[in-house]
Amino acid sequence: MRRPGTRVPAPLAIPAALAVAFLVLPLAGLLVRAPWSSVVEQLTAPGVGQALRLSLLSATAATAVSLLLGVPLAWVLARSRIRGRSVLRALVTVPLVLPPVVGGVALFLVLGRQGIVGSWLDATFGITIPFTTAAVVIAQTFVAMPFLVVSVEGALRAADARFEDVAATLGADRWTTFRRVTLPMVAPGVAAGAVLCWARALGEFGATITFAGNFPGTTQTMPTAVYLALQSEPEAAVVLSLVLLAVSLGTLLLLRDRWLGRVVP
């Protein structure tokens, strides 16, 4: 028996159903086109496991870096009263609109061995970043962190600031208030932002292939492997895409139960 309040009204149900169809049908297309008879052969092809492992590791590292730097940035954008805040907010979302390949070139200009910071790193410490696994993480962080920042800032703005005021009147300093009051309050927003960030990092292609290049084992991620497979064996590309999808969906569902499930009321 349906309770009267749970029925979805038609003006919402119909567009929602269309949205589901629009978003899910391309996936169905991949499933239909997949060469199921040769799946095992494609999956055990050299490099697939390597690329998948690198993708998962680098996306997780990029999410960790984004959390460490992005949550404080979101707090500054939402709570501080520094001047030029709206300009700052626009600036940090630039990677969202920048074509990722351009982002990769921009990273070269800063961190490449001819770059502003990169040439100094090379001359002083002998460190060159491009074409390393670190470059993969940097490229993914550059593209994915804004998703986290925007989500967390939204959560901070929606959270009731009066709890923080109460904490302050009770003698807590701003750092303690952030740790003990603000962060627990916006935890669901942080979690959602981290998931978005991780998913975006996992699918990142343009900035990665430009700044980190493509070499199996060190810089070749799943999206790069898929793109290259598409050049010669479209069927293999379909299988690789499905593997990436299955692993990412599986991870997100697992996290939802284990992690989001607890914090979301």
Partner: protein
């Protein structure tokens, strides 16, 4: 309309199919061409429009495999020029050509180094030097397959730092000075101007890359497409190709 179009080369008719009253070309010509042809084909298109003021030539320049896929999926193109015979075969296997493809140019691999050659690269054997930062194309794309044949012919075990997804991506990294050398096509070296120096590779003769073109069967402007192809294959077209670093087909 398609039937009229096929005969348009000899029968003057309305402007829709590409021939005006005096045999002059009109309408729109849509050319799908490999990215490496951007400069040459733009010039050829300008030449064709100069002689036919009511003709508009439009280009889509992209990787040959992307273009071949788009054509097979029904993209409205009049003429397809591929950077390798395999991607042309994708189109001809689908039976979409109006006539057999014609090879109009050849391209050989060359070593591209940043201006001033900071890595001191002298030849193909430097691709075995682990201290240099080196780019080659991935084996899945045509320039990578050609690179593998060149390395084999030279007896060099290459140790690249990156396997690029297309030849221009490798060239970009040379222009930015982020790699010491990349194996790209001679035409790419030429297109980069003074940012990049080229070092010819004798073994590249083992992997000469042919560029075929064909007029497509459902071309909406077959007369203009044929005229464009003829201009590319003419002496004038060959000179333009040679200036851009291509070798006219033998």
């Amino acid at each position: 309309m398609v039937a009229v179009g096929t005969l348009a080369g000899c029968a003057p008719s309305g402007s829709e199919d590409g021939t005006g009253a005096g045999g002059e070309l009109s309408g729109t010509l849509t050319v799908f061409a490999a990215a490496s042809l951007t400069d040459v084909f733009t010039e050829v298109g300008d030449r064709l429009m100069e002689g036919n003021p009511s003709l508009q030539v439009r280009f889509t320049f992209a990787g040959s495999s992307a273009l071949a896929t788009q054509i097979v999926q029904g993209a409205p193109a009049d003429l397809f020029a591929s950077a390798d015979p395999q991607q042309m075969a994708v189109v001809t296997d689908a039976g979409l050509q109006a006539a057999a493809p014609e090879v109009f140019a050849e391209n050989v691999l060359e070593i591209a180094v940043p201006a001033g050659n900071p890595g001191g690269v002298t030849g193909i054997e430097d691709f075995a030097d682990p201290d240099l930062v080196l780019a080659v194309c991935a084996a899945a794309v045509p320039c990578g397959a050609a690179a593998d044949r060149v390395f084999e012919a030279a007896g060099v075990t290459a140790v690249p730092d990156t396997e690029e997804e297309d030849v221009r991506a490798g060239l970009t990294k040379v222009r930015l000075g982020e790699v010491d050398a990349a194996l790209v096509y001679a035409s790419d070296v030429r297109s980069a101007g003074s940012d990049v120096e080229g070092i010819p590779v004798p073994e590249a003769e083992e992997a000469v890359n042919e560029y075929p073109l064909c007029v497509l069967d459902d071309a909406s402007n077959p007369a203009a497409a044929r005229a464009f192809a003829d201009l590319v294959l003419s002496d004038e077209g060959r000179r333009t190709l040679a200036d851009a670093g291509f070798r006219p087909s033998s």
